[in-house]
């Protein structure tokens, strides 16, 4: 570092501050990325533990371990924690770590706000988890918080609502930062269309977040007013309508699931070309497909409410609009397949996870098309088929992409290769455990087992037992992941080269940097112009 003239003043010369204060006061995108990822990992384990409580209870028919009210608290908190605490922060962590080096920027555009957008999260998590220990326990309405049921909960309600507000503020601030960084901090010559897919998908994700998070905030604010300030928004007696909440929630909620899956698409679009040793097939069409998916996500929300009693024309419209999503998604899937076509493929752990993503996500997509049919959805609604569907897309899609990205960039972050043997073991255990966990739930759903109920009819026992065994395999495998990451961060393993993966330099600016990247100014001494031109 010292060999390059530093025009930014002395304070940038030293490394990170020491001790805990480094993490509290940091404005460094790499530190904040690490914070996001660490937070996500902790929340992933907490939310996972809740899922295991659910699966343990469902191992046998009848009530064994927990009472039904607590069971419903678990399903609610599991969802909220996984969506807002684990998956979204994990992608935000990737964005923080990787967007600046991918576009040739020294850091995020608004670093102080970046610090704040992370540090809101732990407080929101505390607020949410604290409700477990209050009178009447946590919210047990499911994460969708539908009134009038949710208005019957007592002390937990305002805490949950404010927690949602905080999470929303955090996401909006982070999104503003990402958009500004991408618009304003790209290296000269790196035009928008040359930008890596991961940045593109995050850009569109950030737009979605900015546009839908305030709507969720507004909707839960109306819940709060209905509960504490006498209003009648969701009460038909006063001229309101509980279904309005569902419309508002899903106007947020549907883009929200794309907020989770689009960065996953981005990560996979980085990984597949690297391990196929070919450029991404049809990149421009990938970008447009992503934008189209983002747009469609705003106009399909009511397919979550086919059974609520909407007018028939509305059902038809939302059904057709929903089926349209399959088109841009198909473009993406075929582009990934075409990228691999005649490539010289190798199957290191990131590639395995990316392929796992592809298989599982496409499967989840197919069940999605089944449910997009309004008449058929009347039968799928609120049973284990939908549970299986969204876990295939959000876990098989989102979480497997997170695993893929983690193994892909971990050597870049730490300068140490992870343990390839353990990595592969982690993939196979996760993949098999996952399928054992969720595949049987399709059949349970089709046979009529309702979701969010702690008990079931005896004929569902075998499939439930398979599912629970799978859950424990998948869950405990993640401890292996923690161990692999810990080893890598400790520096136990081979040193990673700057390029890390064979030929990776032609797939992204970040691979031109040394591993680990310098703490400040990733591009110190690197000829960005040349790197951009080479790509």
């Amino acid at each position: 570092m010292a060999t390059v003239a530093d025009t930014h003043g002395a304070e940038h010369e030293h490394g990170p501050a020491k001790g805990i204060l480094r993490w509290i006061t940091t404005t460094n995108h790499k530190d904040i990325g690490t914070l996001y990822l660490t937070f996500a990992m902790i929340m992933f384990l907490v939310g996972g533990a809740m899922a295991l409580i659910i699966r343990a209870e469902l191992y046998q028919p009848g009530l064994q371990l927990v009472d039904p009210h607590f069971f419903n608290q678990m399903t609610t908190l599991h969802a909220l924690i996984m969506v807002f605490g684990a998956v979204m922060p994990a992608f935000a962590g990737f964005a923080n770590w990787m967007i600046p080096p991918m576009i040739g920027a020294p850091d995020m555009a608004l670093p102080r706000m970046n610090n704040w957008s992370f540090w809101i999260l732990p407080f929101a998590a505390v607020l949410l988890s604290a409700t477990l220990f209050m009178d009447g326990g946590a919210i047990a309405s499911g994460w969708t918080l539908y009134p009038p049921l949710v208005l019957q909960f007592g002390d937990a309600l305002p805490f949950t609502i404010f927690s949602v507000h905080l999470l929303g503020i955090s996401s909006i601030l982070a999104s503003i930062n990402i958009i500004v960084t991408i618009f304003n901090l790209r290296a000269p010559g790196l035009t928008m269309m040359k930008m890596p897919m991961f940045c593109w998908t995050w850009l569109i994700t950030a737009f979605l977040l900015i546009l839908v998070m305030p709507v969720l905030a507004g909707a839960v604010t109306m819940l709060l007013f209905d509960k504490f300030f006498d209003t009648s928004f969701f009460d038909a007696a006063g001229g309101g309508d509980p279904v309005l909440f569902q419309h508002l929630f899903w106007f947020f909620g549907h883009p929200e699931v794309y907020i989770i899956i689009l960065p996953a698409f981005g990560i996979v679009s980085q990984i597949i070309p690297t391990f196929s040793r070919k450029p991404l097939f049809g990149k421009n069409s990938m970008i447009f497909a992503t934008a189209v998916i983002g747009f469609l996500s705003f106009i399909v929300w009511a397919h979550h409410q086919f059974t609520v009693g909407m007018p028939v024309p509305a059902e038809l419209y939302f059904m057709y609009a929903t089926m349209l999503i399959a088109v841009p998604t198909g473009v993406k899937v075929f582009n990934w397949l075409a990228t691999m076509w005649k490539g010289s493929l190798t199957f290191e752990t990131p590639m395995l996870h990316a392929l796992g993503f592809l298989v599982l996500f496409v499967f989840g997509g197919f069940t999605g098309i089944m449910m997009s049919q309004a008449p058929a959805d009347l039968y799928y609604h609120d049973n284990y088929f939908i549970v299986a569907h969204f876990h295939y897309t959000l876990v098989g899609g989102g979480v497997f992409a997170i695993f893929a990205g983690l193994f892909y960039w971990l050597p870049k972050w730490t300068g140490t290769m992870y343990d390839e043997k353990l990595g592969k073991l982690h993939f196979w255990l996760s993949f098999l455990g996952f399928n054992l966990l969720f595949m049987p739930q399709h059949f349970l759903g089709l046979a009529g087992m309702p979701r969010r109920i702690p008990d079931y009819a005896v004929q569902f026992t075998e499939f439930n037992q398979m599912s629970s065994v799978g859950a424990f395999i998948f869950g405990f495998t993640q401890l292996l992941l923690v161990y692999i990451v810990y080893k890598c961060v400790k520096g136990e393993g081979e040193k990673a080269s700057g390029e890390v993966w064979e030929g990776a330099k032609s797939h992204g600016l970040e691979w031109n940097l040394p591993s680990p990247m310098p703490y400040h100014h990733s591009f110190e001494g690197v000829d960005i112009q040349k790197a951009v031109a080479d790509e």
């Binding site: 555009a109 608004l110 102080r112 706000m113 704040w116 540090w119 809101i120 732990p122 407080f123 505390v126 607020l127 007592g154 002390d155 305002p158 805490f159 609502i161 404010f162 507000h165 905080l166 503020i169 909006i172 999104s175 503003i176 930062n177 958009i179 500004v180 960084t181 304003n184 901090l185 900015i210 546009l211 839908v212 998070m213 305030p214 709507v215 905030a217 507004g218 909707a219 109306m222 709060l224 007013f225 504490f228 300030f229 006498d230 209003t231 009648s232 928004f233 009460d235 038909a236 007696a237 006063g238 001229g239 309101g240 309508d241 309005l244 419309h247 508002l248 009693g309 909407m310 028939v312």
Partner: protein, 272 residues
């Protein structure tokens, strides 16, 4: 620190809502902490700006940041406006029995006498008799006030651009004064509604949407006025020049934004 403040504020507020005595204390503490951090944070940014540490690229980052912040605020209001339209276009007719194959069939059995009309406090007449807020008294006056404040803030901007400091400061003072007048008039309107018109938050869907929309707007006007007041004090200290005045522009954008929202409110909440 800011997070701690925010946490304490919302935590305290929630505790207050469920009837805990300590709630108010933590709420106030949190708010103070939050304001303190904001003052410190923005103060530092202002100082760095004055020292000329910010190049045009950084300034551009701030601009984009403000633009997208306002975009998210637009969606916040869009949520409430959308709800209002939904109630008026769908829910009220359904409650009146429209759409016999759907919701209307049931509601008509529940409340056969309900006439679908707006304003309404719903089929159960929640909150009792009330009088809706007319458009041509205080609301029309407030419309004039906010529209002229939009003009004065632009006049202040012109003053700044041609480096006419007195015009700049006068324009700011006029804008803030108009903003305060607006808030005072609205407070009077609320008082009137609560004490004489029977129009409260509890007055069914009309009262709910009326106070939610106008209340959040009034809150935003207040924030905008505080924002402009900070700008005014900075202007009096000689900050800003014709080329560097991002903070002023951000405040002006925000002010125009609340202005436009008010026009929507005036048309859809008060007038139609």
């Amino acid at each position: 620190m800011a997070s701690t403040g925010l946490f304490s504020f919302v935590g305290g507020f929630a505790a207050k809502l469920i009837g805990s005595g300590a709630g108010t204390f933590f709420m106030v503490l949190g708010l103070l902490l939050l304001v303190g951090v904001m003052v410190g944070w923005f103060g530092e940014v202002i100082n760095e700006g004055l020292q000329g540490l910010y190049n045009p690229q950084v300034e551009r980052s701030f601009r984009w940041g403000m633009i997208w912040f306002i975009a998210s605020e637009v969606m916040f209001f869009a949520c409430f406006f959308g709800s209002l339209f939904y109630f008026r276009a769908y829910v009220i007719p359904w409650l009146g029995g429209e759409g016999t194959s759907g919701v209307g069939a049931f509601t008509h059995l529940l409340w056969p006498d309900f006439k679908p009309e707006w304003p309404t406090n719903g089929p159960a007449r929640v909150g009792g008799e009330f009088e809706p807020m007319g458009a041509w008294g205080i609301p029309a006056l407030n419309t004039m006030i906010l529209l002229s404040s939009g003009a004065t803030v632009t006049w202040a901007h012109w003053g700044l651009l041609k480096n006419d400091r007195p015009q700049f400061v006068k324009g700011l003072i006029a804008t803030i004064a108009l903003g305060l007048a607006f808030v005072v008039l609205q407070a009077y309107e609320y008082y009137h509604a609560y004490t004489e018109m029977g129009l409260t938050l509890g007055a069914g869907i009309y009262g709910s949407t009326f106070f939610l929309l106008t209340g959040f707007h009034g809150f935003h006007v207040t924030i905008g006025a505080i924002f402009l007041t900070v700008i005014l004090f900075r202007a009096l200290r000689g900050h800003f020049d014709p080329d560097h005045h991002f903070a002023f522009e951000a405040a002006a954008w925000y002010w125009h934004f609340v202005d436009v929202v008010w026009l929507g409110l005036f048309i859809f909440v008060y007038w139609l």
